[in-house]
């Protein structure tokens, strides 16, 4: 597992997502109400950019006419075929036995932990004051 620094925390406010390519893998990082999540940005069904889709809730029903809507804003819905995945686990709600989206652990760490300083480049001082979002691949 390799740890990658994504961005200072203030660059990823709640409700935003960031797309990046790390070691040739398309990754998306989400900030949902202050919690960070990472997913491989490739739908296991037909390869769409999964994280371009909307964040929705999960509609479930125990009986006809009874509908529960839970996990509001924590279900990513593929922009192509609408397959739903749990942002926390990558679990598919369409075909959980055959498909799973790849989820990665994302953490927030203080700058002093991710950049061992002090480094002084010729004209550039690296700031280690703020916290950084990091993802483990």
């Amino acid at each position: 597992m390799v740890r990658h620094v994504i961005a200072p925390v203030e660059e990823l406010p709640p409700g935003t997502r960031k797309f990046l390519t790390i070691d040739e893998r398309p990754i998306a990082i989400f900030n949902i109400k202050g919690e960070f999540f990472g997913l491989l940005n490739r739908c296991p069904h037909q390869g769409a950019a999964l994280c371009e889709g909307p964040l929705i809730g999960l509609a479930q029903s125990s009986d006809p006419g009874e509908i529960e809507y839970t996990k509001l804003g924590e279900i990513i819905r593929c922009p192509w075929h609408g397959w739903e995945f749990d942002i926390r686990t990558g679990q598919s709600y369409c075909d959980p036995r055959r498909f799973r989206a790849r989820a990665y652990p994302v953490n927030v760490e203080p700058g002093s932990a991710v950049v061992k300083g002090p480094y002084v480049a010729e004209t550039l001082a690296v700031s280690v004051e703020s916290d950084y979002v990091v993802v483990d691949l």
Binding site: V2, H4, I6, K18, F19, L20, T21, I22, D23, E24, P26, R42, Q46, G47, A48, A49, E52, G53, P54, P79, W80, H81, G82
Partner: protein, 367 residues
């Protein structure tokens, strides 16, 4: 470590060989994009009276959609406008990455099935001109479909003949839900003209006939429309066969677009069985119904049938014929089929090539 921010959106390409895409939906970027191709009188008409189809749902489609504009959410062009309205973005998102050598345009919101027949005719002519101006003249991989005012057979036939020999067009386009089933005589002038200028007639799912989607009335859910396209297309095909359209126009070729093909064998079996018993009712038919279907009908693949066991798919295709399938993505719509993912393993190289490209080039006369 290699971290690249704001990566370019790209298709995950594993399609190395060229393909045909026989169902692409171009859209207008703005409401007035068609004005240069229409008389001033129709600009005023459009702004005053709007577009009135045969169905009663005036605001939006008669059934819900799963995504905005029934489109992929990653298909909004960066310069604005609806999905499918930008040639440069279509090139970047579809034609280039998937190696599309032939793309057939099927405009859906085209004036087919409007109640004002003169307006329907004017709108169809405008859309045909617009397809050349905006699409086929700018990218030679793209070919257009002649849209016609379906309910006005004479005007439709005139528009088809007007485009005779124009290499921008590779087919005539109809929709599956019309005022009557498409084998009825009111539509024969369309088939006569299409046979005369040597183009196939595509029938795409959807339409504006004013009838509910099913013979049993209006269903509740979008999923019922998605599967209901197959029922509509079966009605169309049975009507074409039983009214004797293929007997009357022996060189006519039809393309069934976006309504599945898994149902073809069972429709053929049922028609044949009943034909044995009821042929005195339709003595104008000289062959079994399934023979007309096999000889005159091509099928686009999207949305691809996806049975649990691939041999079932192969059995269905065997009945239809490997020479009759035309690969399609349905770009930019949400039920897009990714080219590299639709055909299971176990298909011969020759059949694979026919499926992805060869059949389309042959049918549409592309060398």
């Amino acid at each position: 470590m290699n971290v690249q921010f704001r990566p370019e959106p790209s298709a995950s390409v594993s399609v190395k060989t060229a393909i045909a895409d026989c169902d692409i939906h171009p859209a207008r970027a703005t409401k007035d994009e068609l004005y240069p191709f229409m008389a001033k009188r129709w600009h005023a008409h459009l702004e005053t009276y709007g577009i009135q189809a045969y169905h009663g749902m005036m605001e939006g489609p008669p059934y819900p959609k799963a995504q905005p504009n029934a489109s992929r959410r990653d298909a909004w062009p960066p310069e604005g406008g609806p999905q499918g309205s930008s040639l440069s973005f279509m090139q970047k998102q579809l034609l280039d990455p998937y190696n599309v050598a032939l793309g057939v345009l099927n405009p859906l919101a085209s004036g087919q099935g409007l109640r004002n027949q003169d307006f329907a005719g004017a709108l169809c002519v405008a859309i045909n001109d617009w397809q050349i101006e905006k699409w086929t003249s700018k990218d030679t991989r793209l070919k257009a479909s002649i849209v016609v005012p379906t309910e006005d057979g004479a005007a439709a036939a005139a528009e088809i003949r007007r485009r005779a020999g124009d290499k921008n067009f590779v087919q005539v386009l109809l929709l599956s839900r019309n005022v009557e089933p498409l084998g009825q005589r009111r539509y024969w002038p369309i088939y006569e003209a299409a046979q005369e200028i040597g183009l196939p007639v595509g029938v795409h799912a959807f339409g504006f006939g004013g009838n509910p989607l099913t013979p049993s009335g209006w269903p509740s859910f979008y999923i019922e429309e998605m599967v209901g396209h197959a029922q509509c297309q079966q009605t169309v095909l049975a009507s074409l066969v039983l009214e004797g359209v293929f007997e009357r126009y022996p060189k006519l070729k039809m393309v069934m677009i976006e309504a599945g093909f898994g149902w073809a064998p069972s429709l053929g079996w049922r028609l044949d069985k009943n034909f044995e018993r009821l042929h005195s009712e339709v003595p104008h038919l000289k062959r079994k119904p399934s023979e007309y279907i096999r000889d005159h009908v091509w099928w686009t693949t999207q949305p691809m049938e996806d049975p649990e066991r691939r041999e079932h798919l192969f059995q269905v295709i065997e009945w239809i014929g490997w020479d009759k399938l035309l690969f399609a993505t349905d770009y930019p719509h949400w039920d897009f089929d990714e080219p590299s993912r639709v055909l299971p393993a176990g298909v011969s190289d020759a059949n694979r090539e026919a499926f992805y490209l060869g059949n389309a080039k042959k049918l549409y006369g592309i060398s």
